[in-house]
């Protein structure tokens, strides 16, 4: 397969910009929404942009070492990379990114890239809260990974492919073809896992502001922090798009994309607003209980009902 | 008690087993082929009227050599056990026998020895042989010990006799390989005239060696048991 590399890179930068901006905006919206739910006025939706620029403009920075310095780089590269391996819009060459490099498994495993790099960078800071936060985050990650993986397996079995594009293609032709309706158990498992992935309450113990002030990124500030904010936007966008592609029929245009991803995101936000924080061992057990059972049921359902 | 019961049970079962043999035993009415051949040809082949001797000394000579060995070994074993490291505790000297006995033994001793010699020398002709003769000789020693508990045997002489007669037996056997049909063949010497003392080839020689060996060995064993041996 020959690729027109300059064009491809150009397209990707475009995607990156769109998703990045959208992600920033989304976090503003979420903050605002949460404030409303809690009866506060909250920040303006453009506040994340202000914060970003403020951080970028800082004149000083301390470093604890090379890995500390590279941590945010890894983090942001992880976010951007994840986006790079996920097609944004179905049937559009412009919005398909570098999806041809690998399938769903690539996207799933690449999500860890940034986390790992960040964890190592934060580790070098020597701050115990960083280590504690990472330990908790990783621990929780292993747990929600289970229902998520089961859900993925269920739909891979259902569509008999690992290619994200093919999965989206199989959902075209009407709302009823979405995985949400053809395989609701898988979607339920995946969405529960999604709650853990976003790191909102009740699964935010790794950042737990009250006990281990924001956890892993404790020592990061100024430009480092700015890059991490950017990553949150891009990474969140990439994950949302992946979920949309896999479970909600994908999107053929940007409007559809915005609506669907916003809706998916709101699930996490609403749940986060409604439930208090779990202790980390509680959340581990939580994910390994019902979400996992649902995931198991999803595979059984797929095998027994959908395949024959 | 359980053990006693088990013993009884075992013996009862053994008894049943033996009954299987005794109950099914049929007395033979004729000789089998092998002994038949010994009886038919033994006298001619080996020149010994006493077929038991023929079997013992020649046909199954290796058994007999082994038998001598067994006796030699038991003498050694008794010797090893009773001489090294203490031996029997002879706290009080044994009591002397009465004078009658002592005197009788003085007369009897050479006669018994002579009888023993007679028995092993005529082993190929009459019932008897090296072992029997040797045993009689040893009984003379026993007689001696009973009457004179303090008496000592000449250990070196005994030992030399014992060793040399054993070695001589083996040498005769080897001569059998060289001069006759095989190891322990008695025909290294001429068979002589049937029924005479000096006949039946090497049988009388072998029986002499055996008789001497058995006599000295058993005597030595008796002395060991008597205690206070050298």
């Amino acid at each position: 397969m020959t690729l027109d590399w300059p064009l491809q890179i150009g397209y990707f930068l475009l995607n990156l910009t769109i998703v990045g901006l959208y992600g920033m905006l989304l976090s503003g919206i979420v903050a605002r929404t949460l404030a409303k739910v809690q009866g506060r006025i909250g920040i303006p939706v453009y506040q994340p942009f202000i914060d970003l620029f403020k951080n970028l403009g800082k004149r000083t920075a301390v470093s604890h070492g090379a890995m500390f310095y590279l941590g945010p780089v890894f983090r942001l590269a992880g976010g951007i990379g994840t986006l790079a391996f996920v097609p944004v819009l179905f049937g559009s060459e412009m919005f398909s990114n570098f999806n041809m490099a690998g399938d769903l498994l690539l996207a799933m495993y690449f999500m860890f890239f940034g986390q790992l790099g960040m964890a190592i960078g934060a580790g070098e800071s020597g701050h115990p809260f960083s280590a504690i936060g990472i330990a908790r985050g990783l621990g929780q990650m292993t747990a929600y990974e289970v229902p998520f993986a089961l859900a993925i397996i269920a739909i891979v079995v259902q569509y008999d492919t690992l290619s994200i594009n093919d999965i989206v293609a199989a959902q075209q032709g009407g709302v009823t073809h979405w995985t949400l309706f053809t395989n609701p158990l898988a979607v339920a498992a995946a969405m529960l896992a999604f709650l853990g992935m976003t790191g909102y309450s009740p699964f935010d113990v790794m950042m737990a502001p009250n006990e281990i002030p924001i956890g892993p990124p404790t020592e990061y500030h100024s430009s480092y922090l700015a890059m991490m904010t950017m990553n949150r936007a891009v990474f969140a966008g990439a994950k949302l798009i992946l979920f949309m592609d896999l479970f909600f029929g994908g999107a053929t245009n940007l409007i559809e994309l915005v609506i669907k991803t916003w809706a998916i995101y709101m699930v996490a936000v609403v749940v986060g607003a409604a439930f208090p924080r779990y202790r980390v061992d509680q959340s581990i057990r939580f994910f390994l209980r019902y979400p996992t059972l649902i995931g198991v049921a999803a595979i059984a359902y797929t095998q027994a009902v959908l395949l024959p | 008690m359980a053990k006693r019961l088990l013993i009884v049970l075992t013996l009862i079962l053994l008894a049943f087993m033996f009954w299987d043999v005794a109950g099914n035993y049929v007395e033979k009415t004729a000789l089998e082929a092998l002994p038949g051949r010994y009886v038919a040809q033994g006298p001619d082949e080996l020149g010994a009227p006493n077929l038991v001797t023929a079997v013992v000394v020649t046909y199954r000579g290796l058994d007999t050599l082994g038998e001598v060995t067994v006796l030699f070994l038991s003498a050694i074993a008794v010797g090893l056990l009773l001489t090294l490291g203490g031996g029997t505790d002879a706290a009080e000297p044994p009591k002397r026998a009465s004078e009658i006995v002592e005197t009788a033994v003085e007369y009897l001793f050479p006669i018994v020895i002579l009888l023993g010699v007679y028995i092993f020398a005529n082993g190929h002709l009459t019932p008897g042989g090296g072992f029997q003769g040797g045993a009689v000789i040893a009984s003379a020693t026993l007689l001696l010990f009973l009457s004179l508990p303090q008496s000592r045997l000449r250990h070196g002489l005994l030992s030399a006799t014992e060793s040399l007669s054993g070695f001589g037996y083996v040498v005769i056997g080897v001569l059998g390989i060289a001069l006759a049909g095989g190891f322990l063949d008695n025909r290294v010497l001429p068979l002589g005239e049937y029924g005479r003392l000096f006949s039946a080839g090497a049988i009388p020689v072998i029986y002499t060696f055996i008789g001497l060996k058995v006599g000295t060995e058993l005597s030595a064993v008796l002395e060991r048991f008597k205690g206070n041996a050298p």
């Binding site: 800082k58 000083t60 920075a61 301390v62 604890h64 070492g65 310095y69 780089v73 942001l76 990379g81 570098f98 490099a101 690998g102 498994l105 690539l106 495993y109 860890f112 790992l116 190592i120 020597g126 115990p128 280590a131 330990a135 990783l138 621990g139 990650m141 292993t142 289970v146 993986a149 397996i153 008999d160 404790t218 430009s223 480092y224 890059m227 202790r279 057990r285 390994l288 095998q303 | 013993i7 075992t10 079962l13 087993m17 199954r60 290796l62 082994g66 060995t69 070994l73 074993a77 090893l80 090294l84 490291g85 030399a160 014992e162 070695f167 006759a180 049909g181 095989g182 190891f183 063949d185």
Partner: protein, 1045 residues
Amino acid sequence: MVDALINPLNLVIVGLGIGFLLPLVDGRSPAIRRGLFHLTLAYQALLPLLWLMWLADGAAAQEIQTAGFGPPFSINLRLGLEEALFVAGVNLAALLGGWYLGDLLRDRAAAMSAFLILAMGIDGMIMTRDLFNLFIFIEITAIATYGLLGLERSAAALTAGFKYIIATSLASTFFLLGVMLFYYLTGTLNIDGMREQVGLVQGPIGMVAMALLVAGVVIELKPYPANGWGLDVYESVPPGIAAMVSVGVSAGALFALYKVLPLTAPYLPAMAAIAGATFLVSNIIGLKQKKARRLLGYSSIGQVSLVALALLLLTRLDQTAAIPLVVGGLFVNHLVAKAGLFWLAGALSRENIADWHGLRARPLLLVLFGLLLAALAGLPPFPGFWAKWELVMQLSAGGMSAWVALILIGSLVEAVYLFRWFGHAMQPADETASTPAMPQLLPVVFAVLGLFGSGHIAARSFGPDTLATLLPVYVAIALMLVDGLPGRLKAMLTLAIVAIYSVFIAPELAGLHRLFGILLLGGGLLIAAASLYRDDSRHGYYPLLTLLLLSFGGLLQAETSLQFFVAWEFITLSSYMLLCMGRGAAPFTLSYLIFSLGSAFLLLAGFGLAYAHSGSAALADLVRVQQGSGWVLGLLAVGFLTKAGALGLHVWLPGAYAEADDDFSAMLSAVLGKATIFGLFIAVMQLGVKGGAATAVMYVVGWVGLLTAFFGALMAIFQEDIKRMLAYSSMGQVGYMIAALATGTHMGWVAAGYLTVNHLLFKGLLFLVAAGVILRVGQREMYRMGGLIQNMPFSFFAMLIAIIALSGVPPLTGFGGKWLLINALLEKGWYWQAGLAFFASAVAFLYLFRMIHTVFLGQRKRAHKDLREAPLPLLIPQGVLVLVILVFSVQPNWLVGPLAEIMAGHAPQTLVVNGTLVQSGLGYWDGFMIINVVGAVFMVPLLMLLVLSRFMHVQKVKQFNIVFAAERPESPETTHYAYDFYRFYERALGFLIVPRATAFWNGVTEWSHSLGGGLRTFYTGNGQTYALYVLLYLVALYLAVGGST
């Protein structure tokens, strides 16, 4: 004249003649007496050896007549090949034993006579062809023994001797009565004559006759429980005498059994049952035994029973052609090894096996001891190994699998107590006991040499190719001789030898074998090169390492299952010995060896069954096994899984990996573990695709693999010790390989191959990094480290690369493995398993982060401020491994392509490699493109940060300059979050890792020990009870077979 000198009858004549003469030279000239004694023994040993040679070259068996008449009129003897072998063995043992006993016998001409005649009597038992004459020789042997037993004057020895007499005299009474009844029935005493007329031995009298004869012989072989008298003797009499009773008298009894066997055919199954039970039970009781000599007694009885069992079963199968190798091999093995051990035990004169510690300080003794034990345990190249192999093959072919199981279980139990003893010897000692005098050790040295020699001869009967598999041992022995050289020089020598060997065999390897050749030998060389970092002499390390590495070659070159198994056993033995050199390894070596041997025995059983079904011993003919392929595969798979440390069978693994020398841990995990995978490949490729039961086996193996992967990872995260963590990690990673292999598909095998290669790279790297860190820090607990990135940046980088490669995060090699694995599982339809694989690989992140963080990141201890980077000899192999990982990360198709090609020869191809794109039926993956995209993507934020940094004042801050509740932390110890890192995870999932497997195996241990304790309560020590057992044996035999019909 020459004819007269070589006449076999001289064995009797000379022994007896000199025996009679010896007392004559009593007292006068002890030197002459001693000279005569040894000269006679030497002649007695030389003569049968010569005959053995001639007979082996095809000379006719010697029929010796006595008294000038042929059988049946006179007694005749025979010296055939079997007789010559046994006589030579016994007389050699007598020669060495006589030398050993020299001091004890010096002043006792009578005892010398008895000893000479004892040997002669045994020779007679072996050679005679007359049943009554056999009785005579039995009695000669017995009484000579009684006499010699009386040499020791302790109450224990005397009572033991008396019990011995009671039992054996009853036995010979039985025998005599049996002989007479046979004579009554057949009219002859000649054994060959009786064989012709064996039809006459029937009816009630016949049955009783046979029972008596059998009981007479069997009791001499000391069957359980009627053998307490024998054990008492072994324990209490001088070891030199005990050796002679154990090997010589038993040899005669065995041969008597061999002669009686054709006459008592109906009793054969009962005898086999007795021998089997005795073999098993005495080994189990041996577990409880603490006293060295009594332990040897149990072992002795077990071994003799095994020889008898082999004889009986082969006779039953009518495989008489195999008897010389099997029975002869087992017999010689027992004879030499057991005698050697008795002598050694006597020379050391330490009663309790726990007192044998400190042998380590005396290398010669240790080597002798280890080799003797290895021989007893049936390891190559000793004769017992070849015999056991042939026995198992024949029994399997004859459908006697239950017997195979019994033999292997018994052998394993025996190995337990033997090597526990060795473990005691390896313990350091406070005091150094006096070294025994050389004259006492000389016989032991000869015994070991004899074992090598006879092993070589036994191996020859399997053809020159098998003989070639012994090459590693000889190389190792040669290296052992130059063990005095400096350590680094020896390391170079090892590397050179292995490198030359590798180059030499490389052209012969193709396909899968070439792949594993590169892994095992190439990887082995690389890891072995790291040993250069140590400059101490490491006695014995390099010869054994050479043995290990060369045996990998043997494994690869193996064409028959035997050659494979030989190499496998060498690997087991050498790795065990190497493991023993680890400082804290002592508590773990035994379980390592036991599980390794258990694994080996399962393989042996599997190969035996394969031979039974395919009729071929070629490794490539496993594929011809049709019926029973499930069983064969099951046995082989469990065997390999045991060695791989699969869940439930893993209890040996963490301790072994953790406590081995640091560089050897890398070898164990990264390289040696691959040998197991190689074996599994061979088994699965040929048998796994058979359908039927094999499919079920594969399914189970698949689950076991994934559960191993999961639990390995889960247990790893809770370890404080870095090597323990790596050990559990290895266990988990191997689990993936097993699972991939078990799919039985092209994709799965490519995945397994890929995972194997990758695991070698990153695990070698991790263990070597750990070695460097441990060297510098002097600790293994990770929480005592921290912040070492500043001191050891390269080590950090190497570990970083390794953990990324392990975790499966793109763009390094790990992702390929995960992708292939998941695809293989999904393609196979193993969806739940795939879910578990995801979970396991996520859990792996936990320990990976913990490891790199606790060691290299976080707060550095003050004491570690001046530590230096790891030494260069450690870093260079690390560099090579990093380089290889990076190359395969950029061009994974260089690895996947050849793998796909290799595996395509064995299963329908489902994986397509198209340029840099790898495609399965489900998905696709272009490693080259991924790394380019990731590289480019990485540049974006990097450039951004670099640019931003131009405008900032980036300042490197000191250690404690952190936002810590507005305070300066107290000390690194309290600030480094490291200890009990995943406490919360334990709270959540800790219930999963309760050490059930350990508890189970402890239970097995306990149970078998108490079984042994229970079984030995039959030994009351009372001579009368023993007499009762003897009588009961007769009755039981009769009732079991004949009865009152």
